[in-house]
């Protein structure tokens, strides 16, 4: 078993394609998405008309997760409804989830 970062992002479903794209640019090699609803302190959204939130989980190495946080801060936090959190988890076959380090 290996330790790896698990990052969870909750955001407006309208951003789905854009987010997946940005994650790949940041070096993420995989993601898991579920449909979600939610309320938060901001609640300024159009998603209600468009189908709620998405909840995306990403297993990745700390460097890639770092890049994702930077990307979120630069392009998402100020304008869109986003909540994200991170923790350490154990996986086997950790190499499956390691980002393309050429991004570092």
């Amino acid at each position: 078993m290996h330790e790896i970062d698990l990052l969870t992002i909750v955001t407006e479903s309208i951003l789905k394609e854009r987010l997946i794209n940005d994650l790949k640019i940041a070096g993420v090699t995989g993601w898991t998405m579920t449909a979600a609803q939610g309320e938060g302190p901001r609640n300024r959204r159009v998603s209600e008309v468009e189908g709620g939130n998405i909840r995306v989980e990403i297993l990745a190495d700390p460097h890639t997760v770092e890049r994702v946080w930077t990307m979120l801060k630069d392009s998402y936090f100020s304008n869109y409804a986003v909540t994200a959190w991170q923790s350490k988890v154990q996986v086997s076959r950790a190499d499956r989830y390691l980002g393309n380090e050429s991004h570092g």
Partner: protein
């Protein structure tokens, strides 16, 4: 050639020759208005609004709502395509050109009018322009159902005009906001709230607007209807024709809930915005009716073009604006378009545009 879409919707009577007396008196007009309010789709919309007041939101499950939207868009496109094929190209060309012109002029009017009616900045005014420059499928179809219930004829290619009007207004609105943002950031420097929007505005939005799913389905339906013609349409008529009004009613349940949720925001919207959301549609609708007559449309057709101009988008435009203008405040645009203009048009606007079209008929036809 003038066909009634209802003849496609209905079972027989393809060569309907219903006569109506367009110079009806005021009493009849009033009863028409009542019969609009008492139609199943409008009443279901009100049920949705009421359910929000009772805190028991009668929403459709999300996937069903989305499928219903796909159905409505495709069915409208399909019927429009079938009717387009049955039309003379010469009859269609001028209305299309006029529709494009309206799709450019109306958002500019919105942008300017909002400047002296409200305190909204250019970003939010551009967002509003994109919404009001585009159209509302449901308002459009409710108007068709209204005319059908009165046995009033209209050109079968009206869905073509809906499709044509869907996109340009959004693009013009976004361009206006973009221009405003770039001007201001030149003046104020890059630290303004628009720096992000300027960045992202050049990314997905053209794709999102032109290749948005709703546009693609509407346009795809139009093309398929055109290619397959009446004969092909007959095979799917029970599904896309017969069920149409019923499915529309179900869809309006959800629209009622969404509009009902916006109602509480109206108080915070400011008087200027509220007045705009009611008065501008009547103005744009009248503009559309006059343009329709000038383009050679029948009374029914001119009224529908008016409805298209009067209605504001709440599906295609919000999505495009959210991606292209992230700093615009969606609660302003949605409260206005979905919370005020949409119910206004659905309940009192449609009969008003009908009366206007009747009143102006003698001047043009």
């Amino acid at each position: 050639m003038k066909t009634r879409i209802s003849s496609l919707l209905g079972v027989g009577e393809l060569n309907s020759t219903v006569q109506y007396d367009s110079n009806v008196d005021f009493g009849t007009s009033l009863s028409m208005a009542t019969s609009n309010v008492l139609s199943v789709p409008v009443l279901v919309f009100l049920l949705g609004v009421i359910s929000v007041r009772l805190k028991a939101d009668l929403r459709l499950p999300d996937p069903v709502y989305q499928a219903t939207a796909i159905y409505l868009l495709f069915a409208i496109g399909l019927k429009g395509g079938v009717a387009l094929r049955a039309s003379e190209p010469a009859d269609v060309l001028l209305p299309i050109v006029v529709a494009i012109a309206l799709g450019i002029v109306i958002p500019i009017l919105v942008f300017v009018v909002l400047k002296w009616m409200t305190r909204l900045d250019g970003i939010d005014r551009g967002a509003m322009a994109a919404h009001y420059g585009s159209t509302s499928l449901v308002t459009f179809t409710a108007a068709l159902v209204f005319l059908d219930s009165l046995d009033v004829n209209y050109e079968g290619f009206m869905p073509t005009l809906l499709t044509v009007l869907e996109i340009p207004g959004i693009i013009v609105g976004l361009l206006l906001a973009k221009k405003y943002a770039s001007t201001r950031s030149q003046v104020e420097g890059a630290n303004s709230r628009d720096s992000n929007s300027r960045d992202s505005i050049s990314r997905d939005w053209i794709r999102e607007v032109i290749l948005g799913k709703s546009v693609l389905i509407l346009f795809g339906g139009l093309a398929i209807g055109f290619l397959t013609g009446v004969q092909g349409y007959e095979q799917v008529e029970p599904f896309f024709g017969g069920l149409f009004t019923g499915v529309l009613a179900l869809f309006l349940l959800e629209m009622g809930v969404l509009a009902g949720r916006r109602l509480s925001d109206i108080r915070t919207a400011g008087v200027g915005l509220i007045v705009f959301a009611v008065v501008f549609p009547v103005f744009a609708g009248t503009l559309g009716i006059i343009s329709g007559y000038l383009a050679g449309l029948s009374m029914g057709g001119a009224m529908i073009l008016g409805v298209l101009c009067a209605s504001a988008s709440y599906i295609a435009a919000p999505a495009a604006v959210r991606l292209a203008l992230p700093t615009a405040n969606p609660s302003i645009t949605l409260t206005s378009s979905l919370g005020i203009t949409f119910p206004f048009n659905l309940i009192v606007g449609i009969p008003i545009y009908y009366l206007v079209a009747q009143a102006l008929e003698n001047w043009f036809l």
